[in-house]
Subunit: 153 residues, 2 copies
DNA sequence: ATAAATATTTTGGTATGCCTAAACTTGTAA
DNA sequence: TTACAAGTTTAGGCATACCAAAATATTTAT
């Protein structure tokens, strides 16, 4: 079953709220997603019909196994993107927001490449690669700080 | 006036088609966007009402100055993202597709950072930075190819 | 010039995802 | 324990963006 991006948003929100409160209630979700409770109820009923969560009127909701799997995979994509943006010196709050936008429809291949790039940075034998430092400086000042070293490499 | 992502898609499509044919016709757009002509007509009328293009029934459409400005700015964002993905070793066709998805809602700050990163790569004194070569190899083989050099830097 | 083919628009309908207002539950405090 | 406040759901509506089918306009071929 092919999930819509908004459905993924809800599942991710439910996951995050449940992590703290055990279950997610209509009002929590409405606040988290910046919409009205009535709209939340409607979507929860749809997601329940698809077997992605347990819904009983007037109680909160809890993700099903399937729903949780989806939520986790969305969150992983989200974190991947956010981490990339972090390395590209995007301020954390903006990286967070933009990761939300990108997390849904990117090709799995793109996500894999983003991950590889992150791992390349993190696991490089010299573990904070010098070129990343150089990029940070370039991003702030517009100046290349690596003239001599670059000649050598 | 705040434009919707779908409106931006149409303007971009019209721009691309006009570039080749002088103007964009309903059927061209329907094909380009993968939807039916009836839907195109509807949207063209909306965009005309917003002053983004010239619409006369049964002729094609041509972007207004304002419409062209929007199209160019969308295309620039698109190209920026596509270029980044290229450096991250995402295959060209997938980079193209995913740039279409991301081009709309990213924060201007994120776009600026992506551009800086691209310029950092392109304008580095040593103009194909060695670390990018190393990433390419890492992306293909999973192995770091830079052990000794990294020690030195 | 006119009929046939092609292109475009109009009309009426669908799904998504949101809203407000009203109705209904639930929990709590008097 | 009952009444009220807070939370939730239902009902009716709206905007977007699509579709199919029917109506209309344009182009092309004879």
């Amino acid at each position: 079953m092919e999930l819509k991006r908004r459905e993924e948003d809800y599942l991710e929100a439910i996951y995050e709220i449940s992590k703290r409160k055990g279950k997610a209630r209509t009002t929590d979700l409405a606040e988290y997603l910046g919409i009205k409770p009535a709209s939340v109820t409607e979507m929860l009923q749809k997601l329940a019909a698809k077997g992605l969560l347990e819904y009983h009127r007037y109680s909160g909701v809890v993700l099903s196994k399937k729903g949780e799997e989806v939520a986790l995979s969305v969150r992983e994509r989200h974190d991947t993107i956010r981490e990339l943006l972090k390395y590209l010196q995007v301020p954390p709050d903006i990286a967070q927001r933009d990761a939300c936008i990108m997390e849904h429809n990117l090709s799995p291949i793109t996500i894999i490449q983003l991950k590889k790039f992150i791992n390349f940075i993190k696991n490089c034998p010299k573990n904070a690669p010098i070129w990343l430092e150089h990029f940070k400086k370039y991003s702030e000042t517009g100046e290349f700080d690596c003239r001599e070293e670059c000649e050598k490499i």
